[in-house]
Symmetry: C2
């Protein structure tokens, strides 16, 4: 069946600049390796999105509408629909002494982080350093090769796919998520290991909010999403040992 | 009714060393001020405990058994039942160069943190620094003035009291906790603000585990405690704004 807005799908993609054919992002490991952008912290596999959910560039999601599972398509995205035009005001002169203060020796091509965001040093001339704070892809027309690998039909699988998208944690097995849906309320109980996440509670809350929003906006009838952490009395062994074991497991991985 | 083991109570106390009458801990603000140990990050009020739950020194909890609400009692605790004897091996000689490495200038009375725990510098002699890693109250007999202010009877209030004891967060209003108990399962939904806790998820899990354990060990029939974070679809305003507002509120406080 042709894909509509609001459908949950999995897609592979490779993004290139139109002018130079340079690959800047991909879901295929072999292409990442070939383009020398392979990131060992990243998992290369189709990513789950909601079509029209702003998970990819809107211009790409529009082109996915009407495709079917297994379809491939090449999509051109003009710079205005991608990362916008280059802004000359985003090129700034910074006094060399600001770099010295931080013990940095700037050189052309160096990438830096500043309050204004990420920048790339263009030139170093005496006391002045010219930094470009434009997005690296600003002003560039892009080409994306898209492949729809799956249309997700089952509501529980749709919910799992959004957890996969918004809450990445290498210690957490997504298949251990328990989901129930009743009277418009989704109850999500994740893999035990998610309890031992070392990131802040607030950051987890933001991920949960994004999951919930995608779920209630795109799954008919859902009005509430509960994330449940259960603590159960066990008679067999000391609970202190239990937690200690789980922590050991969590820190060993 | 006389207090038994497993009862949930609120107590005030002041702990002093027997020999010198020095106050080292108290739940009364005026006594803390007088003893010059007032801590502005601490809330001075009766603390909730489970009698026999190891929340205070066991020797003190034993003496609370048999008291009634409103009762006061003075309890002597021998050092062996408090922080143990002083261990001569916990007094160590540390080369001065270890302090220099860290840019520290040790002096007698200075408190330091090391891998072995907290220590107090006794003497500084040339290249050697003598540090006492014994607990400051080791080897001391103690006197506690105890006042039982309340016996908590209601199960929901018992659960709230354990949240108060194990999960301290100045932004969270304990009275906004929603609790339901059904078929031995306790469902706890805390104040919205708890979602924006900046400590790690794992630390919150440890607090929840301690709450759950005290609950299932001391409230008849409870076998499971669920902590629920609910995310609800609201039609009136943009949810992104909503979260943004809550975060602003959280960071402003």
């Amino acid at each position: 069946m042709a894909i509509e807005n609001g459908d949950f799908v999995r897609v592979n993609f490779t993004g290139k600049t139109k002018e130079t054919d340079e690959v800047f992002d991909t879901t295929y490991d072999e292409i990442a390796l070939e383009a020398d952008i392979f990131d060992e912290n990243k998992t290369y596999k189709p990513i789950p999105i909601v079509v029209g959910g702003n998970h990819l560039l809107p211009a790409i999601e529009e082109e996915i509408v009407g495709l079917e599972a297994g379809d491939r398509k090449t999509v051109e995205v003009a710079s205005d629909d991608a990362f916008g035009p280059r802004d000359p005001k985003a090129i700034q002169l910074i006094p060399m002494k600001e770099f010295k203060k931080q013990g940095m020796t700037p050189y052309p091509g160096m990438r830096i982080s500043a309050e204004g965001g990420e920048g790339k040093i263009l030139t170093v001339n005496g006391g002045r350093v010219k930094v470009d704070f434009n997005h690296p892809l600003a002003g560039k027309d892009l080409v994306y090769d898209i492949e729809v690998t799956e249309i997700i039909e089952d509501d529980e699988e749709k919910i799992k796919s959004m957890i996969e998208l918004h809450y990445a944690n290498p210690n957490v097995d997504i298949d251990k998520t328990e989901i129930s849906i009743e009277d418009g309320v989704v109850n999500i109980q994740m893999d035990e290991m998610s309890k031992f996440d070392q990131q802040s509670y607030m950051d987890v809350t933001f991920a949960r909010f994004r999951i919930s929003k995608d779920v209630w906006e795109n799954i008919e009838g859902v009005t509430k999403v509960n994330f449940v952490d259960a603590f159960e009395k066990r008679e067999e062994k000391e609970e202190d040992e239990e937690v200690a074991e789980e922590v050991t497991e969590a820190t060993e991985e």
